[in-house]
Amino acid sequence: MTRPERQAVIRGFGSSRVGRRLPVSEMALTADACLAALADAGLQRDEIDGLATFPGGGFDTPGLAGPGADEVHAALGLQTNWKYGGPEGGQLGGFFSACLAAATGLARHVLVYRTVSEASAQGAAGRAGALAGAADAAVSGFRRWLAPFDAHSPANWIALYAQRHMHEFGTTREHLGTIAVNNRRNAAGNPNAVYRTPITLEDYFDARMITTPFGMLDCDVPCDGSVAFVVSHIDTADDGPHPAIGVESIGWAMRHRPLWDQWADMTEMAAWDAAAHLWERSDLRPEDVDQVQLYDGFSFLPLVWLEALRFCGKGEAGRFLESGKRVALDGTLPLNTGGGQLSAGRLHGCGLLYEACVQLRDQGGDRQAGRPDTVAVGVGGGPTAGAALLVRR
């Protein structure tokens, strides 16, 4: 098996401020993150010859997509040999594509970014504000199988999976709450996290219900922010001012129909396919992994990823948490060290990729969890997923 991703490294990374309703534009956030990543990589703008993002331009969901690749291309005055923006490779699709472009020589240094402004876009009306006007038009796209039945939100769609998992395996809301409490505790050490005040399980159970079994604290926080990475060919890995991050393997497989309501076994998700692919492409095993950054758009999703990645058996993730002990910063498998999307903000998986880089460079400060050599990143929920194993070189 050829493993081109190993010919790529993350040479630099950067982040904008992340927050609720920041008084700056999406492009300003993007520029902040991209210029920070360039400086971190020790590269000049004119050395960048590739550009990639997810999901790219053309989206009408307010705040979801950020500026498209063409707009960023123009704003930063780039000259590219290769460019890609697209939604259907999943949230890590831009990063994966950049790895392949760098590995194959289509580009030497690829700038990858992900920008959201969902907090500003939703405004004071919250998610309902984002849906306002939806009732005026017929529903097309995949939502036509969901919205006519008043399943309007990913919260509803993921809840259907969670409820089935609870039914079959005895997973409980306390297990879900353990994730929420853990991530908030970690966010306290992340100056860029949206919510940093610790919460207890009691707070978790007191929060208002959204859609069973999910309450407010099971749902991640929409935010404004941007993260960026410079993905370079491994030949240039040692040319920058900071250690580059290695890419051991990526998992990008999708072996089922990618439809929200048609997953054959709804205690599983696309995460299982991506995770299987990840291990097929790696010499490492789950016991080699020092910490995990797992998509927590909803508290249930890290449980799915823990099972999909084979850190525990199917159905065992709730008990595997050991009431939070195992996944705490000082546990044997720290989880979402920067607070995850539940507390740090929903950067659609790319914030988790960013946090993995921070940890592998020992730059986590108060939230640094040991000195990891290998970090597993699992991103996505429902019928979308991507996974990566990042390593200290």
């Binding site: 969901l146 089935r164 309501d261």
Partner: protein, 150 residues
């Protein structure tokens, strides 16, 4: 056919969003007109599939047609929604994944209606009812019947 009377049972739901069906799935969305749910079936491998497409996703036969189903099924999963995503959605309601009796795994997302949300559970036996969406389209919703199966 006893199922014909179900066309007259209107569910207690607010205005539902209307889909923009592709030509391949219009018959699914129109099948409420006579109260009989129609699903797509491959005439080659004889298996049902959803969502409808002009090809069988299992055997790739192009010989796929719609056929009536019993309208009976079981709740495979559910969520009771409390969040008013749209202004009229003030009261909790149950979104379900229904598995139809015709074939294991023949499922779609729907809404449970005319049933106390406290009674929804996995294994609940349900039967289709239709809610008009305008323009000749109908949403196949479900209501509880009889006892729970697990």
């Amino acid at each position: 056919m006893t199922i014909d009377k179900h066309a007259e049972v209107h569910a207690s739901v607010g205005p539902l969003l209307r889909p923009a069906p592709t030509p391949d799935e219009e018959e699914f969305w129109r099948s409420g007109a006579d109260g009989r749910l129609r699903m797509q079936r491959c005439q080659s491998c004889r298996r049902w599939q959803h969502p409808p497409n002009p090809v069988c996703f299992r055997c790739l036969s192009r010989d796929v047609t719609f056929a009536p189903v019993s309208g009976d099924g079981t709740v495979y999963s559910f969520t009771v929604n409390h969040q008013p995503w749209l202004p009229h959605l003030r009261d909790p309601y149950a979104v379900i994944v229904v598995e139809l009796d015709e074939q294991p795994g023949l499922r779609f997302v729907s809404r449970l209606v005319n049933t106390d949300v406290a009674d929804v559970r996995i294994g609940l036996r349900v039967r289709v009812v239709f809610e008009p969406l305008g323009e000749g389209l109908f949403a196949p919703l479900f209501t509880a019947v009889g006892e729970c199966q697990t």
